[in-house]
Amino acid sequence: MDRGKTLSLDVTLLDLGSGNLHTVRRKLERLGARVVVTAEPEVVAGADKLVVPGVGHFGAAMAHLRSSGLAEALGRAALEREVPTLGLCLGMQILAEHGEEGGGPGLGWLPGRVVRLRPPDPLRYKVPHMGWNRLSVLRSEALLEGIPSEAEFYFAHSYHWAGADPADVAAETEYGYRFPSVIRRGALMGVQFHPERSHEAGLRLLRNFLSL
């Protein structure tokens, strides 16, 4: 991956029909990025930088990615060309091998599976996990640079990663128990929370992504 001084501010934002699409676009544009919103496989395959936002059902998203040719196009960009690729919420979850919601395979690009949140005390830890929460940063990670340790991000989910390779987990979040909230292996990155609605901590994370 080129870490030289040339900033790549051209971002391709994958349109999966999720509601937060334009919010993500606006935030990236505010940070100086030129954003192309697309659902066309050829455009995705040729991207310089990819953001995959997502809210909704794992199974439905995967079915759509496959039938549209987008899964293959994403693979060409993210795996073959190793273009920096950031998945947000469901966009992070689809990187896994399998998802409980719909009971089918994900893209399988990182080891692990997506399971339902099952806190030990369900009357105390309500599901969906909706609200602000922190990160326990496990290792140094460029995506999190300049973000204070007590920063909080907005979460809204009922499922989470499990069984990840520990080397891929940059940060965990606690909600009854701990689950990966920031994962990364090379060009593949994912965050469980919504940086586009997490005040300046979220903006900083997006800015860090743009600098990669």
Partner: protein
Amino acid sequence: MIPVLLLGDGGLVKTERFRSPRYVGDPINAVRIFNELRADEVVFLDIFATPQGRTVSAEFVRRVGEEADMPFAVGGGVRSVEAVRELLAAGAEKVVLGTVAVEHPSFVAEVAQAFGSSTVVVCLDVKRDLWGRRWVWSRRASRRSIYPPDEFALTMERMGAGELIVHAVEREGTMKGYDLELLRQVSRSVTIPVVALGGAGRMSDFGEAVGKAGATAVAAGSLFVFHGPHRGVLISYPERTELPF
């Protein structure tokens, strides 16, 4: 800590127990201020939508969506899957369902299946009858349903609602504290998040709702947005360190 802002006739309004709305200011300006104050999230409810047979405006949602640095929910006359789709696409993280959830509970399931539970908030407007028993009401609390709050909450959870706002209508604007008994009843019945609304007046009210009554989060209307002496809108929001939880 969630400000609930009421919309009426193009501006923010304040009501007491659902009556006599008074104009207090420009909603988009309020969003900017809440950005600066680092509010956790905001709820916008169009209180005239259902009586006027409308739905909260998608164009309004788009403008809020462009400004907001935190998540927000919108509600007011939302009755169809298409309306929900439009509002989510316009930038709202969540849609608040009121009257439709009470009068057509299966609609909640339709929306949850189409867009995911985390996008669906159901607001329970609760009032008591002459014998002091609490019921869920619809149509700006003008029509009583057959459901007690805890039963209805459970039904909503089964339908796939992601979050419930429990609104003690009689306490709205009184600043006398939340209805802790109501909150306790509902929080114990469901495993989905419960947000308290109606009666907040002091910092300690927030701590009580969460610590003693099992609420997941607290919301307030009158407390955050009020009339200044020269008809300007004043907005306040507590610092993180001031919050008792």
